[in-house]
């Protein structure tokens, strides 16, 4: 049978053939894999709002170690960290125990974020909108190529970084980031072949539609831009 058992007498061919049918495993369907994963995920990873894995004790260094490996997010991530550092240095003694200082002003129509969060967030939301708009054409029949998956993956990492940044102190942005996190996670999981992805793509479309994700994205980008021009 193999080079390892030349001294072990073989079973007769008829028995060997019959033995191959012993508990022959069925083909594992993608739906089964996903169902098992859901159970595993819920038992193995603790989560907070939106199912996001977090380590409450994590420091900026820990975040850096965990998320910064993909070079595609380096620029945005570095900008965010510089922003946090600047915020901490410029914070006066009176608010030394506050969260990192982000000059944030919410009105009904504008959303003001201090630099570097403003440009970083604006760029990120723009990229997320572009991906979602292009998704039906790029993931035709629910199949995602490696480039699309990588883009979604990198954006997902940035989403999580933003969720852990002062940008998410704003409820509207936080909700949007959490919705984007779910949608991007689904995009990352689109298969590269087969037809299974069709239903996945439809679920993504429904999630985007039902959550008004694209209009909210556009509004946030417009509000950030408007406040930049003030």
């Amino acid at each position: 049978m193999t080079q390892h058992d030349e001294h072990t007498p073989e079973l007769p061919p008829a028995v060997r053939d019959a033995a191959r049918d012993y508990n022959r495993p069925p083909e594992l369907k993608a739906a089964d894999l996903d169902a098992m994963w859901t159970a595993i995920e819920s038992q193995s990873f603790r989560s907070d709002i939106g199912g996001r894995v977090t380590d409450r004790g994590s420091t900026v260094r820990e975040l850096t170690r965990r998320w910064f490996a993909p070079r595609a997010v380096m620029q945005i991530a570095a900008t965010l960290l510089i922003g946090i550092a600047i915020g901490r240095f410029t914070a006066g003694p009176s608010n030394a125990f506050d969260s990192p200082s982000v000059s944030r002003r919410m009105t009904q129509d504008t959303l003001s974020l201090a630099e570097p969060y403003s440009s970083t967030s604006s760029r990120y939301f723009g990229q997320a909108a572009a991906l979602l708009v292009a998704l039906p054409a790029e993931a035709r029949d629910g199949r995602a190529d490696a480039r699309l998956t990588r883009r979604a993956h990198d954006l997902l990492l940035t989403t999580r970084l933003l969720l852990d940044s002062p940008v998410a102190n704003d409820g509207r942005i936080r909700n949007l980031l959490e919705d984007l996190e779910l949608v991007l996670a689904q995009v990352v999981r689109l298969p590269s072949s087969g037809t299974q992805g069709r239903s996945e793509l439809e679920l993504i479309r429904q999630a985007v539609d039902q959550g008004d994700v694209l209009p909210r994205l556009r509004t946030v980008v417009a509000d950030i831009s408007a406040s930049d021009n003030d």
Binding site: T2, P13, V15, Y22, P26, W37, F45, A130, R147
Partner: protein
């Protein structure tokens, strides 16, 4: 759009297994999912071969990964991750099947008490059924070795690593398993030699 196209030109990066393990230990679900996608089909195959039941095999696959992720920080990379995963699989299946057998034994006792069993007609049992029964009846260490080697194509080296025994032990267990099958299937000797 051009601006985005430029921004999206990320460098190609392939996640290595050690990197995925480190990220999983740190709580990264995507990395965990990648490990799962790579390992789950073979874990499920092995679980199914040993249980013969799809639902049970799925349950045991889940349990294997839950346990593996909980213990992943202890994985030192001294063996391949797949070897380590299969070791966890066998442990989960072995424990799980003990419970299932106890449950089934109680069910069988109850059935026997309530029904008069039909006389056993040996002539109706073909080679496949007999073989199924003969493999089922093998002691666990022989059955596992036979299933892994003859049915799933593991090498003795892999089996030895998974079971934590010497390669020679794996070979000898396979030899015993095959001998016991031959003995039990002796009534079909004519059939398999024709």
């Amino acid at each position: 759009m051009t601006r985005f196209a430029v921004a999206f030109k990320a460098p190609q990066h392939v996640n290595s297994e050690p990197e995925l393990i480190a990220r999983t230990v740190a709580g990264d679900r995507l990395a965990a999912r990648e490990l799962y996608d790579a390992q789950a089909p073979r874990v499920f195959r092995l679980a199914f071969r040993l249980t013969g039941d799809e639902d049970l095999a799925q349950e045991m696959t889940q349990e294997t990964f839950v346990r593996a992720f909980a213990q992943l920080h202890r994985f030192r990379g001294e063996s391949a991750l797949s070897t380590w995963m299969h070791r966890v699989t066998l442990s989960v299946v072995s424990n799980g099947m003990r419970k299932v057998k106890r449950f089934r034994a109680r069910e069988t006792d109850l059935d026997e008490a309530l029904t008069i069993s039909a006389p056993h007609r040996e002539a109706d049992i073909d080679l496949k059924e007999s073989l199924q029964r003969a493999i089922d009846d093998l002691p666990e260490i022989y059955r596992t070795t036979l299933v892994m080697h003859d049915l799933e194509g593991y090498t003795h080296e892999e089996i030895a690593n998974v079971l934590g025994v010497a390669e020679g032990t794996s070979k000898s267990r396979l030899s015993v398993a095959r001998a016991q099958l031959r003995e039990k299937l002796a009534p079909f000797a004519k059939e398999w030699t024709s």
